[in-house]
């Protein structure tokens, strides 16, 4: 395996009953790159990513992560490898504040009866927000008091707060107002600066072209092509997606 890749998915097949969702798909993700992923509805994007995050098991195929073959049986294994996912609908708990959301499932605890170290988590949350330049004045606000862009930023912060190696962003701008999309795209580029490899799934070609290094096109469960951003344009991508 070529070590310029952090992740390789080889010959991935997945069927649901008689429906072939993925057919012999190969995907390579380089260290520190943003790979845009596009395709029409039911092209297989979500299925491929769910295999990578352990929500589904592939019927056939192999996954290599950092040059080692891995078997991702559930989302926990995926997280242990350093693969995190950011969802379209933020996936935050609206009733919890920013630190509680950032650390949900991975809270910092003390010894003995393991009490939560709330102060430490608050302080680390402020650091994470500052490091990613996420503009939230009061981290003690509950998630439902934040704007859509702030919520998505917190969701991204949550994904990257445990030093992941790969972040999958599934339509991260789909639920946002125009003003907030730019901020999330800037944040995505900042993650790249921190050396994180990103798979950026989106229907919005403008967003894909703004952040991606390469663009991966899926159609009806088949990999159609992978294009360098600098050597293609929107018309060609649309043509590959639909014809």
């Amino acid at each position: 395996m070529d070590n310029k890749y952090i992740l390789e998915m080889k010959n991935i097949d997945k069927s649901f009953g008689g429906i072939h969702a993925l057919i012999d798909v190969n995907l390579e993700l380089m260290h520190g790159e943003i790979l845009g992923m596009v395709g029409d509805n039911a092209a297989g994007k979500s299925t491929l990513m769910k295999i990578l995050t352990g929500a589904y098991r592939a019927d056939r195929g192999r996954i290599f992560f950092e040059e080692r073959e891995v078997i991702i049986t559930n989302p926990h294994v995926s997280k242990l490898l350093g693969i995190e996912m950011v969802y379209q609908d933020f996936e935050l708990c609206p009733n919890l504040d920013v630190p509680a959301n950032l650390f949900l499932g991975r809270e910092i605890t003390g010894n003995f009866i393991r009490p939560l170290r709330n102060r430490e988590m608050e302080s680390k949350a402020v650091d994470i927000l500052r490091r990613l330049k996420i503009d939230i004045k009061n981290p003690k606000l509950k998630a439902n008091r934040l704007s859509g862009g702030q919520q998505q930023a917190v969701a991204i912060g949550k994904a990257v707060s445990f030093n992941p190696k790969v972040v999958i962003m599934d339509e991260p701008t789909a639920s946002l107002a125009v003003m907030e999309i730019e901020k999330v795209l800037e944040l995505t580029l900042r993650l790249k600066e921190h050396g994180i490899s990103i798979i950026f799934i989106s229907h919005r070609l403008d967003d894909v072209f703004k952040v991606s290094d390469r663009i991966f096109i899926l159609k009806h469960g088949h990999k159609v092509s992978v294009k360098e951003k600098t050597q293609t344009n929107k018309d060609e991508i649309v043509r590959l997606m639909f014809t």
């Binding site: 989302p75 926990h76 997280k79 996912m85 969802y87 933020f90 996936e91 935050l92 708990c93 609206p94 009733n95 919890l96 509680a100 959301n101 949900l104 499932g105 991975r106 809270e107 605890t109 393991r114 009490p115 939560l116 709330n118 008091r145 949550k158």
Partner: protein
């Protein structure tokens, strides 16, 4: 006009800004305070105290205060049993039936089998844990709605209670067993101090334990909590086990207070559990709980019941009053949430 404008010296300008900021912060703080459910119900409690103190001379007597404190404590235990499940986005309609099982277990093992009370209490608490685990296991393993499951087990457990007792109470309960339910210290009943301990435990759980944080998360968004790596089903299961335990504790304390184990104990707990929990600020949709609110909610319900009796209002309509109070509490909660959103808090 400009030439007449008199500018303040820099220091005075600074002081003015500080004063304005302070006033703004104070106003925002007061607004935020009024948004808290505990504040509204605390005002209601104070008003009720004033009204009942004026209208009934026996209201502020030591005996009545002791009695009110004891009832509040028992209601709070029942409300904790309900709130623990509501906070995770579910409900437990079998709270009273589980309490009834614990009552019968206590009576049966003390009266019929002659077990020492300590052993009988331990068995009763285990019965509560098992009943809660049964609810939780069906909800999480089969994937049924908590309403349907606990409605069914309400009848299952009540049937067991009447099947075992044939409707007769266990009356041979040792006098020593009633000390906790009838006596007190520092002018307040022992059960009151037990309640303080229980509320302290709940405060710890929801502020300093992973389980509490995950249960709050589950109530806020089950999916978000699940994708964060939390085993949501295990959390729901555990919340039902704890709910069963608290219902059983309430049952045992009720036996201690009554001095007998009567099978009908628990039958009116359903409405009490919801009334105290919801009035106390536990969101019906899940995701929030207030320890102070649970206590104040208990005080409100007991004061209303107590006051109605003192005012000579027909007690036969009691459930109607409680039902209306719950409706009022839910409506106020909705209005508060609406205002909260509008005010941009």
């Amino acid at each position: 006009m400009e030439e007449y404008k008199q500018e303040l010296p820099i220091t005075e300008q600074r002081e003015a800004i500080v004063k304005t900021n302070f006033l703004k912060s104070l106003l925002n703080y007061l607004k935020g305070l009024m948004m808290r459910s505990e504040v509204g119900i605390s005002i209601a409690v104070i008003l009720l105290f004033i009204v009942f103190s004026i209208t009934s001379p026996s209201f502020l007597t030591a005996y009545n205060i002791f009695n009110v404190a004891r009832n509040v404590s028992l209601y709070v235990f029942i409300a904790i049993a309900q709130a623990l499940v509501i906070v995770g986005g579910g409900m437990n309609l079998s709270v009273g039936a589980i309490g009834g099982l614990a009552v019968v277990a206590t009576g049966y093992f003390i009266d019929t089998l002659g077990f020492p009370p300590v052993i009988a209490v331990i068995i009763a608490l285990i019965v509560g844990l098992i009943a809660g685990a049964f609810n939780g296991a069906i909800i999480t393993k089969i994937g049924l709605n908590s309403f349907v499951v606990t409605l069914s087990t309400l009848f299952v457990f009540t049937g067991i209670v009447y099947g075992i007792t044939k409707g007769y109470p266990y009356i041979n309960i040792p006098k020593a067993f009633t000390i906790i339910g009838r006596k007190g210290i520092f002018g307040l009943p022992y059960v009151f101090w037990l309640m303080v301990g229980a509320l302290g435990f709940i405060f710890y759980v929801f502020n300093f334990s992973r389980f509490g944080r995950w249960l709050l998360g589950t109530g806020g968004s089950k999916e978000a909590t699940r994708v964060s790596g939390v085993n949501v089903n295990r959390i729901i299961l555990f919340s039902h086990i704890l709910s069963g335990l608290f219902a059983a504790i309430a049952g045992v304390l009720w036996v201690s207070r009554m001095g007998s184990a009567q099978p009908e104990i628990g039958q009116d707990w359903l409405i009490i559990s919801f009334a105290v929990a919801i009035i106390g600020g536990t969101a019906l949709g899940g995701g929030s709980i207030s320890v102070l609110g649970l206590f104040i909610g208990g005080v409100i319900i007991v004061l209303i019941r107590n006051g109605l009796i003192m005012l000579g209002v027909s007690i036969y309509f009691e459930q109607t009053y409680l039902g209306f109070i719950i409706l009022l509490a839910v409506a106020v909660d909705r209005l508060r949430a609406f205002y909260y959103q509008k005010a941009g808090f």
